[in-house]
Symmetry: C2
Subunit: 340 residues, 2 copies
Amino acid sequence: MSNAYNRPDQLSPELRKRVLETARRLGYPGPDPVARSLRTRKAGAVGLLLTENLSYAFRDPGAVGFLEGLALACEDAGQGLTLIPASPEREDVASVHRAGVDGFVVYSVPEDDPHLAAVLERPVPVVVCDQPRLDNLDWVGPDDRKAIKAVADHLIGLGHRRIGVLCMRLARGRNDGPATVQRQANASFHVQKARLTALAEEFSEAGVDWTTVPVVERFDHTLDSGASAAAQALEIDPEITALVCTSDILALGALREAGNRGLRVPEDLTITGFDGIPDAERAGLTTVRQPWLEKGRAAGRLLLETAEPSRPRHIQLETQLITGTTSGPPRSGEEFWFGP
Amino acid sequence: MSNAYNRPDQLSPELRKRVLETARRLGYPGPDPVARSLRTRKAGAVGLLLTENLSYAFRDPGAVGFLEGLALACEDAGQGLTLIPASPEREDVASVHRAGVDGFVVYSVPEDDPHLAAVLERPVPVVVCDQPRLDNLDWVGPDDRKAIKAVADHLIGLGHRRIGVLCMRLARGRNDGPATVQRQANASFHVQKARLTALAEEFSEAGVDWTTVPVVERFDHTLDSGASAAAQALEIDPEITALVCTSDILALGALREAGNRGLRVPEDLTITGFDGIPDAERAGLTTVRQPWLEKGRAAGRLLLETAEPSRPRHIQLETQLITGTTSGPPRSGEEFWFGP
DNA sequence: CTCGGGTTCTGAACCGTTACGGTTCCTGCA
DNA sequence: TGCAGGAACCGTAACGGTTCAGAACCCGAG
């Protein structure tokens, strides 16, 4: 029976035809995929666990690029891609347990998320992405520290010493406002944390007291959030000459807010982003481009290529500082304080 | 055993603790999801079959919105969402057979796609979306004919009688160029076909000989495609006063091309789109807005709500003509021919 | 002491497939 | 005619969980 469907070479065409014929007559719908999976121990699909908020994954252009890359890798291998329902409110870890998949890609999930713990309990390979490396797990990501340091060096080189920072959510709890140094240090979203600490290091080295730098956090990742965060940062310290944003979306929002306030960019205010999404490049934003599609593709390939579980593999992606038209030297009034 | 994990109330806490303890000691990773699925006849996931080209689904803002809505519906129901790998080149119908899912959402798949046939063979519920209604299948979609007729009426009302049309691929084979009336009639992508035939009807009624209307087809769905298609249409008939595009992406490309040629929109050339993607609204494009997210959500809900298989359900979505700044009366030279 | 009723626990059947080994049958060759 | 060898076919045992029937046990009432 099984052979008739799956191994036509194992039996005569005549018998095969007869089997299929009667099968159809009996209303047999073909081999059951689940039973097959049980027997062969292959589900034929990869699970994707992603950030708490599912909508984020589809609204953020970077995340969509990642998803596309991952989907392409799966398609190439003839594997399905299953989005695991992991809503943040009801901590429905069961969904992870129920998922019939051969492995997981975990994308930008906070370290303390119970779903992540549930994934790690499953006896299947796991690749983490845009997260801290975990013991014995394959990893894909950019060098966030190095990338944001390129931005910092660029700004420091231009002469900026008084800056503000706009960042995305740092922990699962909502906090729309300034983030204390304490909160920065305890951030559970690794990417944001890495970018902030690297910024702090670099500007501290350049003589800036990081505790005086306003770091404004936003829970939602939208243009509006960026705009209001920019307003808040400028309110806290109107002397700011540069706004460093940890994402392009926030930066584009900040750009809009600057426009509304009649601030010229970059003459009055320098604004930088991070991610390299199409809209940012179109707006001429100074930002860091990262290969989103490649990131997804790499994660998928890593998971699908059979690995020796002994040595976890790390794929570090190249990033590139794009110097746009939104960064320039600080306005002259400020420059005076640091100039000759 | 099963009870220990799934029905804590069915056995004493003491025994339960003991069972879990020894299970852990033996390295038992918890109930196997596939075996559970086999027994319970529930996979806990929904399959999504979409247009040949997977990248399209992630690059088209409308499709991403649809995907988001569908994913949200699945998440609400605690169901996974599995993207079926259906690459167009290798006709890998096996992927449909192998997918462990409780049902399928089929989105904008050409009628003659073998994957669609394979889905219909599976004994699970199916919802089709942005496709022709199929016998006994739930259906979700806008009223494409009515929606595009609103555009046509708008243009006819403004006085346009000499138009060009830009459309997406009509069939699986590549054809970058004018589409004959024959090809329009045989189109296997339902949405495109519906829009074209409705346009033809409406303009014919207004006295336009449809066979003289240049309809330019593009295989890829990008701004560049839109631009080059616009160029081609204007070359075929330079007297055109309006370009009707069956998608916003094409329209935005046409807008760019018009700019490059020094044509003022709408004074020299009217351009309309279809879909209502954010970029289009930002550009002030005259277009038809359709509720992408709701479409996905409706499809998901339809599939997940248990239906009586006797009566297929149809959900028709509302669309809305958005009159932007890219449509106006035809340029006066032309108007002369139809004016008083 | 026995019986009935309720709770806790055990064991076996079943879900539908694939892998594998065994059996039959046929062909070719000595 | 006998036999080896291979192709074609068939039967059966897992795979790992859920479910359900019934065994075992406990307790209080008659």
